[in-house]
Amino acid sequence: MASPDMDHPEGPQIVADPLKVPNLAFGAMAEIKPFRAHPNHQEPLGFPGELVGNWKEVAIEKIGELANTNRAFRVYLDACVKCGACTDKCHYFLGTGDPKNMPVARQDLLRSVYRRYFTFAGKYFPKLVGARELTKEVLEEWYTYYHQCSQCRRCSVFCPYGIDTAEISMAAREILDTVGMGQKYCNEIIGKVKVIGNNLGLQEKALRATLEDLEEDLEDETGVSVRIPLDEKSADILLVTPSADFFAEPHIDGLLGYAKVFHQAGVSWTVSSYASEAANFGLFIGSQDNMKALCQRIRHAAEDLGVKRIIFGECGHAWRVAYNFLDTLAGPFDFLDPNYPVPQHILEFTLDQIERGNLRFDKSKNDHIRLTYHDSCNVARASRMGDKPGGQFEVPRAVLRAVCNNFFDMDRDTTHESTFCCGGGGGLLTDELMDLRTKGANPRMTALQRVTEDHGVTHMAAICAICKTQFSKVMPQFGYEMDSVVSVHQLVSNAILLDGQEIDGDDRVPEVADAGVT
């Protein structure tokens, strides 16, 4: 790999160490903020369209409400001792040097106001404890810097009290929404899911046509009729996957992988047009009401279709919501088959099929790829796969090793629970934040460049729709092709051998029973 700077002299400065701490650059990112939501994006979510007249009272009341209804919010605001352990852990700080992107400093933007109105010391000795009045400037500052947090939880791993900036950032965004200062990207998308069923606003008709085209492509490729069913009543499995899987690269190749696995496993499955979205941006804006509304669509779809199981496709925060919150917000799911976890991850399903010997692979189909794997933040630090702690790290790697000969992990300080965010998570995957996204991707890209230098790694697999989109946009700025990011199930799709599949001309893959292969 050539030095990225030679090919892209304008590109970001690459540092050799992904963990290198930058010098403080005061105010470096003070002007970077996403577009504000239009009243049309605010009102369907239950938020005022514009900044309300009594914003100060409303905001302070909301802080009090959060402190009384969310233990994490109160404990995290009270317990911080400013030890500094988190200060060099945020990818946005490492990439920008702006001190307000240090997790504790980001929390303090809100903590200072909480102290002023809700603590003894802040009420009577504000200067002493760094408490401050809530002003319009403070609101603007919140809007700016709480939209420079991807809620990835990396800081919380290193905090002696587990203080999670994501919780503070979600709360701040909810306060901003409550006074009428929403963010366009997230709120517009949530509105689309509420009306149409997915982030893209893809109607049932268009979705059906897309899936039929994909079925044709699959048949052309394999010679086997592999189906991608839509709204099929009484299918066993409801697949809920990010809508990016229906049209974006490399997401779509992952969807083809799921279809092939389901086909070869011989299970009946379906996608729902009503709940055609795994993503739940209600999480990003800290709105339990909106998160709940989106979760309930999935429940309704499962009930209407009469499925027995729910499986989620490759999406990071969606898996967090599904794994942790779906049952709480839309359960109980006692109408589903109790023999399977609710919900399941597609990788759990695929690995189980591999271990049962139901899938066969030609790993050489992936020999043109030297692969590494990016642990997505919400999967790594906010969920689990399998039945043991840490399964979220082992399950994807086990699948990758089963389908790919050349696999190399990145620096351990940048993987597993210490993984870096892609730079586009938490509702920041919008064009006007491109500068932030590129700088935030720097630590991950630096770690990637190391394995490229050491092991000739060419591709990086991910299991998150946001990661995939983000990397395909920013990787070219770091000297990689945009298709260097791949779906995990894309590699499964490359290597899987379907019964009766054409291989190199007329040969066909024999049935499992005939071949005696496991």
Binding site: L24, T69, R74, P99, V129, Y161, T328, R384
Partner: protein
């Protein structure tokens, strides 16, 4: 007069400390945790969570992962403080419990560890630009307060010895609600005065990280949402 003043301050600050912390913990316990937000990989059982918490509280596991300098100074300070506090039990018990007797010499050395830890933390706060940026005046004052307590305490042992038997008699009296004579030693008065200040501010300051750590949902929740439905009673549910 002096004895009565210090007795009053003792009762007041001790009450504020105890009631303040109990009240805070009651508020934390009463505040609902509406969703599962365990920071994974997390234990899948209650016993697992107990061990996780123990590793955090005793060894500062996450801090160790994060930054070796802060860990070394922070852990040295806290363990030193713990031993020093346990050593102080001898002034409140008669006869002195056997294990408090045992740790007397260790407790003495621990005071040096405590001071070294404090100075280490303080110098990082002053010298590391990132940590200087996030520090408020109160963060420095808190360190100054603890430093003052430690140094005045050590001075009474190593420099100008106080009539410690009389001090013990005074405190044993206070425990029986009798106000006896407190030796009017200036270092002792400074030491006790600073301790009262610390007890006053404990429930209203960042010192709440002590009880707070046990209530952190990211660390105290069991990672079992698929095995056991999580349905806390909250206003929203």
């Amino acid at each position: 007069m002096l004895s009565a003043l210090y007795a009053g301050l003792f009762y007041l600050s001790a009450s504020i400390l105890v009631f303040g912390v109990v009240l805070r913990m009651a508020i934390y316990a009463r505040t609902p945790a509406p969703l599962k937000i365990a920071q994974t990989p997390a234990p899948t059982t209650r016993i697992g969570v107990f061990w996780r918490m123990l590793r955090e509280v005793v060894f500062f596991q996450s801090l160790f992962k994060s930054n070796k300098w802060i860990w070394v100074f922070g852990w040295t300070f806290h363990m030193g403080l713990l031993l020093v506090l346990l050593r102080h039990l001898r002034y409140f018990t008669n006869p002195v419990w056997f294990w408090v007797e045992w740790i007397q010499p260790v407790g003495l050395y621990a005071s040096f560890a405590l001071v070294i830890g404090l100075l280490g933390l303080w110098s990082r706060r002053l010298l590391v630009e990132r940590i200087r940026y996030i520090s408020s005046p109160s963060d420095h004052l808190m360190l100054a307060l603890l430093f003052g307590i430690a140094v005045s305490g050590m001075a009474m042992k190593f420099v100008a010895r106080v009539d410690i038997v009389a001090v013990k008699v005074y405190f044993l009296g206070l425990l029986r609600f009798k106000i006896l004579d407190l030796p009017p030693d200036p270092i002792l008065l400074v030491h006790l005065g600073l301790v009262f200040v610390l007890m006053f501010i404990f429930p209203i300051s960042k010192l709440l990280h002590g009880p707070g750590v046990f209530f952190s949902p990211s660390r105290n929740q069991v990672d079992n949402p698929r095995e056991q439905r999580y349905a806390p009673r909250t206003p929203a549910n």
